[in-house]
């Protein structure tokens, strides 16, 4: 987990910006990659994956494609597909390189032709000790399976950053949503590191479904923070939340106007495979989901 890596002071890892699939990449996803690079002195690898299956499709004489604006069906021969992908990759890599230059973060670009998740898993396995995947494409309500597959198949990533379609900022407070006490320390440290890049303070949100549990966790958290060097720490907040309900998290992020957020994937708020619709409708900042 990145929080653990950050807390342990291990060698710097790598931010993998996952591009491909569509020509679209969220500007906020790219900015999130740079913020992580700055906060953890990591390099950013811009990985454009040419979906191999599309080339299999392009072999068919009936292969056609229709644009989002419905300008009519166009043939999809291999040569056209290759050209489209080459241009899309070049444009995205240039965008990333410019952002890297502005943020003083070293960036590398790579294009691979493979099945997307396999390519991502291989890229993360090649390098270590830790990787964080940034999903370049804006999150859509139907992406829950894709996200679940990512956590399932890309084992060497410590987390994934998603940016919603309504993203509008990467500056401001960092909200760390903690559901389990043992994650408190590392997530707090990670949030503090991120806050140095986002220019905000840290808002710690403890989440539980029982009041006694929350009170106990808050007491422990206060002790922990009092012992440590937590200059940027700004405040606690306890939220009662039922399982599989991202609404409380969404409300917290909206209220704090967060510039970045950390939460646990597969936990109480963002359950594995659960609908992402409530989140996509309110998520205004990048969200780092940790395992």
């Amino acid at each position: 987990m990145i929080a653990h890596v950050a807390a342990a002071g291990e060698r710097s890892g790598r931010v993998v910006l996952w591009l491909g699939g569509s020509a679209e990449a969220s500007r906020f996803a790219i900015e999130a990659a740079m913020l992580l690079g700055q906060a953890f002195q990591a390099e950013v690898e811009s990985l454009y994956v040419e979906d191999k299956q599309l080339f299999d499709l392009a072999d068919f004489p009936f292969a056609r494609v229709i644009g989002g604006t419905a300008t009519g069906w166009q043939p999809l021969p291999q040569i056209a597909l290759e050209r489209e992908m080459r241009f899309a990759a070049a444009a995205l890599h240039r965008q990333v390189a410019e952002a890297g230059l502005a943020a003083s973060v070293p960036c590398h670009a790579r294009v691979v032709r493979d099945e997307p998740l396999r390519a991502l898993a291989r890229a993360c396995a090649e390098n270590g000790p830790w990787n964080v995947v940034i999903v370049g494409e804006p999150l859509a309500p139907g992406h829950e399976q894709r996200l679940a597959d990512l956590f399932e198949r890309v084992r060497d990533t410590t987390g994934a950053v998603i940016a919603g379609p309504l993203a509008q900022r990467t500056r401001g407070p960092v909200v760390a949503v903690v559901e389990e006490f043992e994650r408190l320390g590392p997530m707090l440290k990670a949030a503090q590191r991120l806050a140095t890049a986002t220019g905000g303070d840290v808002k710690l949100t403890l989440v539980g479904d029982r009041r006694e549990e929350l009170e106990w966790m808050e007491g422990e958290a206060r002790l922990l923070c009092a012992d440590g060097d937590d200059g940027e720490f700004a405040g606690f907040e306890s939220v009662l939340a039922a399982n599989d309900d991202p609404a409380p998290l969404a409300e917290v992020l909206q209220r704090h106007k967060a510039g970045f957020a950390l939460a646990q994937y597969g936990g109480r708020l963002i359950a594995r495979g659960a609908s992402l619709r409530p989140l996509t409708q309110v998520l205004a900042c990048p969200l780092l989901l940790v395992r």
Binding site: D51, V65, L76, E84
Partner: protein, 592 residues
Amino acid sequence: MFFKRSKVDKKSAADPAAEPTGPVETAEAAETAVPVEAAAATAPAEPRLSVGAHTNAAGATDPASLGFKTTADLEPAHGPVGQTKAMDALSFGAGIKGSGFHMLVIGREGTGRRTAARAKLQEAGAKAGRPADWVYVSSFDPTGGFRALKLPAGTAKPFAEKMALAIDQLADALPAAFAADDYDLKRRKIEEEFRFSREDALEALRREAESQNIALLRTPAGIAVAPVLEGKVVKTDVFNNLPDGLRREVETKIAALEAEIEAILTERPDAEKERRARLVALNEQVAGRHVRAALEDTKAEFAEVAGVESYLKAAGRDLVRNAGLFVAPNGTQAAKLTRGAGTHPRFARYAVHTMATTSAAGGVPIVQEPNPTYANLFGRVELGTAADGEATVVRIKPGALHRANGGYLLIDGDALLDSAATAEALRRALEAEEIRFDPPASPIGTVGDEVPDLESIPLNVKLVVFGDAETQRRLAASNPQLRRMFKVEAVFEDAVARTKETVATFARVVAGIVEKHSLRPLDVAGVALLIDDAARKAGGNGKLSLGIADLTHVCREADHWAGSEGRDVISGADIERALRQRKAGEDLAEAS
């Protein structure tokens, strides 16, 4: 001059016994008498003065009998000498209530008829209440016309300023409101909801396709459909080895799915309509708050004025609908337009065009229009070109009728009759008692011939036309209907009988000229010379000429001579010199 007029009385000029007469009461005058006589030898003889009030045996005015030393001893008079009938007519015309009593002031140029008329009008007008103000405002309807709003006296300017201020405020507030995170998020939510609903439909289709071993794939160029087996796109060689029937079945399914995809992407008019409606509602919600706040002051101050509330409602609706005017097309803040935004051409439709307003000094307006063209009487509309190429009204300028509404309009009859169309338009306006903007040609001809529809403004004006006998004749011949509208006629005589009273008034009129033009006082000898000159101009038949303009000219010239010789009082010699100069000038004019 095209026509020369003889300055001498023909009857007197024909009399060989007529002797040049002139006052030689002072030593200075005696010394300067020679050139006058010399001039008289070559010029037609001056009429002999008759014996009358304040004259000696020769008919010359006796200064000693006038009873003052200088004009400083006299109460200045600014009215004409005599002219009782004319003055009574003016008093009646100026004071009578109700419409239709237009006045025709007849008399020779220089008889003081304008000054006298203005004095009477001021006297009558000061007693009357201030008339209402009028402004033109956009009707905000598809005609692009303008409504006339009647406002309490003196409030047109504050009303216009408040509206301009409201536009200034909106130029600040609206770009900020539309650039705010809150608005942006709401707008994007609507957009995303629309997109999500499309994505949902595609997702449902994807699942349906999956059950038929067909996948919807995303490519950089859009969406494609492919046959799959166990989640992987089927290789062509595998597909080609399928039985023909199965292949055709797959291809048919793919074609059907493609049609459905296309339908999802293109045929969603209801969803698109709803998206637009929600965006409009959001814009109206955000803009409406600021527009209401910006117009609040104006609304509160003019709540009682008929028509203002409905205008402000219409303006508010239009501002909300056109909030985009304040924001650049890409949603970023437009070029900063804060101070003076209210007068920017982009916001011309919200301008308040002041057509008539009165000052706090009170009284009704008295407006003199020296050049009564259609535009000067009825106003003009200045057109510009909007960003979309459409003609737009930039400014509506009031005419003399607007400015004089509720009071008096003074114009020169000959100048009016020079344009028969304008005279007829004026007649129609007076008859209908309304100012209707219907120019004979385009306003200024800059953009086509479009003339906006301006609501008529009720007209309540007394027309005062100045002219002479010839003007009367022209008027009767060219526009008899207009001629009949002058129910009051004030006829100024060229001369009045010389009596003690008229001589005394004449002296006071000279004192009035001295006061009005800040001249040195005239001594009694100078006044006597002026009286004799007036008597001579009247033909020497016991009358006094009433040429105030000429009298003023001589006094001013004499004042110059007195000043050049360092004297504090204008003497008879100065008057003598000025009269001599005038005579020389007249001779020169005759010769040319």
